[in-house]
Structure formats: C-alpha cells, structure tokens
C-alpha cells in the first residue's frame, strides 16, 4: 500500500513537472517571446481609447436625447424633437451594434483614415441611445412636485431642470451609467470586424501566430476582468460618497 502510494506520487510528480514545463513554454510563447506582451497592452490602449471617447459622446448624446424625449408642448403633446429622439432610440436598439459599426466604417465614414475615431463615433452613437433611456428614467424618478414647485415660483422649464431636477436625477442615474460604461467597454471587442487591433483582436492574432489559443485568450480575459474590477470598485466608492452627502 505504502510503496504503491509513493510510486503513484512520483508519477504524479513527473506529470506535474511536465505540465509546468509545457505551461511555462506556452506562457513564454504567448507573452514573452518577441515582446508579445506589448501587443496586449497596445490592444488594451485601443480598447480603452475607444471606450472612453464613446462613453463621453454617449453621455452627451444621451442627455440631450433624454431632454428631447421628455419635451412637451403646452397641451401635453409630444414635440417634433421628442419624436425624432424616439426614432433614434428605436433604430439603435433595433439593430446589432456590429452592423452599426460596419455601416459607419464602410458607408458613412468610408473615407476616414482614423479608425479609432470612426469606432468611437459608432459606439458613442450606440451608447447614447441606452444612456438616454437611463437619464430619462432618472429624471422621471424625481418627484413631480419638485418641478411643480420650481415652475410655480416663476422659474422657467430650463431653470427648473438645471437647478432642481437634474442635480437630483444625477444620483439616480450614476449606478446604471456605470453599468452602461462597463457594457460599452466589453462591446468594443467587436472592432476586430473592421480590422482595428484592440485587446481581443491582439489576443486572437497571437493565437493564430503561435498555434496556441489557451494563454492569449485567457490572458486577454484576465486583463478585461482586472480593468473592469478596478472600474467597479471606483464606481462603488463614488456612489457611496454621493449617498453619504445625500440630504434627502
């Protein structure tokens, strides 16, 4: 019993040794050889660049579109702006983002030399639709009495929005906006379709060059995960700080 146990142990030990060797080789192949690790970080740079520009653009578009959608005539009917904004949100939500990207790339901006810009615009326009829904819900969640009180004092619609409603809506929208940014960051992985080398495509390229999929793909996943984890922690902190100063 005892001897067979130790024998098995030895065999397992050898296996372990082999495994470690091969893993080590694969690791070197995927990350070290030819300074390949630089490619991942270059790819991550592209991913972050697109995500950041798109997020800013999405926030601006989203806020404007939300206000357009909420606009009403004096008799409570929808304005032409509300209709236009509604159509925009419908179209964006009703079509795949890959297709939107391809249309932007091959049709709308086919003469542009700046791939990151085209992708940022495409994702920003896409994100704007989702952000507008978030902002709209955040504004509607502010008690109607708040804006009625503002209007009854003679403040204009815009003044009531700026000084009373929007500051309160920001606290409502921060958590879902953070979530939208995380979704956006991951969704940029489709830019490989238009031959931009983001993190996902970098990993994919290394896979085909080394005939070895495990390390590059898992490595890319770990990088995405780490970035998003850090982002989540930062957003949590911000949210908690806002809630602490919440005077409602």
């Amino acid at each position: 019993m005892l001897s067979s146990f130790s024998q098995k142990d030895m065999i397992e030990g050898e296996h372990m040794q082999e495994w470690f060797d091969s893993v080590g080789k694969k690791f070197v192949l995927a990350f070290v050889e030819g300074d390949r690790w630089k490619l991942y970080f270059k790819g991550l740079g592209v991913t972050l660049e697109i995500a950041l520009f798109a997020a800013i653009l999405g926030m601006v578009i989203g806020t404007v579109v939300a206000l357009m959608r909420l606009s009403q005539k004096r008799n409570g009917k929808k304005t032409i702006w509300a209709r236009i904004a509604g159509v925009y949100v419908d179209i964006i939500r009703g079509t795949p983002s890959v297709l939107q990207l391809l249309i932007m790339w091959f049709i709308v901006m086919k003469n542009s030399q700046n791939g990151v810009l085209v992708a940022s615009l495409s994702f920003g326009i896409n994100s704007g639709a989702y952000v507008s829904e978030i902002v709209r819900a955040g504004i509607l969640a502010v008690d109607k009495g708040q804006s009625e009180a503002g209007r009854s004092l003679g403040l204009s619609k815009a003044q009531t929005m700026i000084y009373i409603v929007i500051p309160q809506a920001i606290k409502n929208v921060l958590p879902p906006i953070g979530n939208e940014f995380i979704v956006l960051l991951k969704e940029t992985a489709i830019v490989g379709y238009v031959s931009l080398t983001d993190l996902t495509r970098a990993a994919n390229q290394i896979t085909s060059r080394t005939y070895e999929a495990f390390m590059p793909l898992i490595g890319a996943a770990v990088i995405y995960f780490t970035v998003i984890k850090i982002l989540t922690i930062l957003l949590d902190k911000l949210e908690r700080r806002l809630r602490k100063s919440d005077n409602r």
Binding site: R74, N75, G76, D143, G145, Q146, E148, A149, G150, R151, S152, L153, G154, L155, S156, Q159, Y163, I164, P167, Q168, N247, R248
Partner: protein, 240 residues
C-alpha cells in the same frame, strides 16, 4: 384681481371642471371646501396654469393669462403656491430654497434675497434652520418654510392646496398660525382646506365645490349657519 370665466378642464375622458366662474377681489381670503375628487386642486392649479384649462378664461390683474401668447413664468412670479406635500427642493438648503427663485430670476441680488429670507424666517420662528436641509425638518417646519419661500417673491396672491393635510395633528396649528398672520397683513389668499375653524375665522368667503362646480358661496357665518343646497348640508354634517 382674479376673474375666472366658465372654466372647464378635462383629463382624457374625465370632465373635472364643468364651468367654474368666480371673481377674487384684492385682499379677500377665499376658502374652498368640498369632498375629495370634486376638482378643488384642479381649480387652484388652473389659476397659476400648472394645469392648462380645456376652455374658459382666467384674467389676472387685467391680463388674460389663458392666452397662448402670455409668458406664464412672468405671471407665476406674482402668484405664490403652497402644496400639500411641501415640495421643498431636496437638493438645496433652506436658505437656498428661499433665495433660488428671486436670485435666478434676477429680481434681487444674493445679499438682498438672503436678508429678506432671514427676516421672513425670523417671522415664522425658523431663523436657525437657514443652513439645514429639508430632510432635517418636521412637516410643520417644512410647510412654514414653503410659505416663506413663496412670500420671498413678493406675490400679489397666495394659493394654498390643503396645506395642513399631510401634517401630523400636533403640527397643524403652527402652520395655520402662520397663515392667519399672513391674512392679517392683507394678502389676497385662495385656500383649499378641510380646516373648518380656519374657514370660519379667516375666510371672507367660503365656497363649496362639488362635481366640478361651485355649488354654493357665502360669508363664513351664513355658510355654516344656513347651508342652502342638500349636498352642502350633507357635507357639513360629516365634517363638523
């Protein structure tokens, strides 16, 4: 001061105001009573156009304010409104609640507005709450602040929509006291309330609204002693 002519208001298929006509003179204190759902709030909210009337005319100081071309923001500067649920701005201190409108509308400098706010706060005994936030106040305190906030605009008329209905009983008195004091300064007031004592004591006229119409109008003494229509008799027997 306010003349209402054949006012109608319909929400979708709900005909809420069915031809209300009335004339509020300067300095009057009009108290409106009536069963829940009879259109009292809707009527009051039409006066400052928080609700857009379906038809009819409202004249304020000789101006037809139901006219499409009128700048309603300008009109509302002269009509204060106090809500059942206070509606203080949650994201501002008490001081900022009071000074926000006069300052942003460029009617006063920040210093003037603060000075005025402190004087008014002192009058309602809440000067020490200037830097507090609404969430730190009791209901009675919030409503007194809401009244001060409206007064800071120097309104020509004050509209009250059940200002004490959301309050705990022990806080009703402090708010009514402020309103009484305001009445004594000669302010024109239109008050929707269930406080019959207030109607009797402060009102110059009491109106009974039912099913979207003013069913009866009288001096407080006559209104309570000699109700004419059956609906009012029934109503009074329930609330008195």
């Amino acid at each position: 001061m306010i003349i209402v002519k054949d006012l109608h208001k319909t929400f979708e298929n709900n005909h809420v105001l069915k031809g209300v006509s009335y004339h509020v003179h300067q300095g009057e204190k009009i108290v409106i009573v009536g069963p829940s759902g009879s259109g009292k709030s809707t009527f009051l909210r039409c006066l400052n156009l928080l609700e857009t009337p379906t038809s009819g005319e409202i004249w304020f100081d000789g101006q037809l304010i139901t006219d499409e071309k009128v700048n309603i923001d300008r009109i509302r500067q002269h009509m204060g409104m106090v809500f059942q649920n206070f509606n203080l701005f949650n994201n501002h201190t008490i001081m900022d609640n009071i000074t926000l409108a006069p300052v942003k509308l460029k009617l006063m400098s920040k210093e003037e507005a603060s000075e005025k706010a402190l004087t008014l706060l002192d009058r309602v005994g809440l000067k020490e709450k200037a830097d507090a936030y609404p969430s730190q106040l009791s209901g009675g305190q919030k409503q007194r602040i809401a009244i001060v906030r409206s007064l800071a605009m120097n309104p020509r008329v004050m509209l009250f929509d059940e200002p004490t209905s959301a309050l705990d009983p022990e806080m009703v008195g402090e708010v009514l006291a402020v309103m009484k004091e305001l009445a004594e300064t000669g302010m024109t007031m239109v008050v929707v309330t269930h406080e019959m004592g207030f109607a009797r004591e402060v009102g110059t006229k009491v109106l009974f609204m039912d099913e979207g119409r003013i069913m009866e109008e009288n001096t407080p003494a006559e209104f309570f002693a000699n109700p004419q229509c059956d609906r009012l008799k029934e109503f009074l027997s329930k609330v008195l």
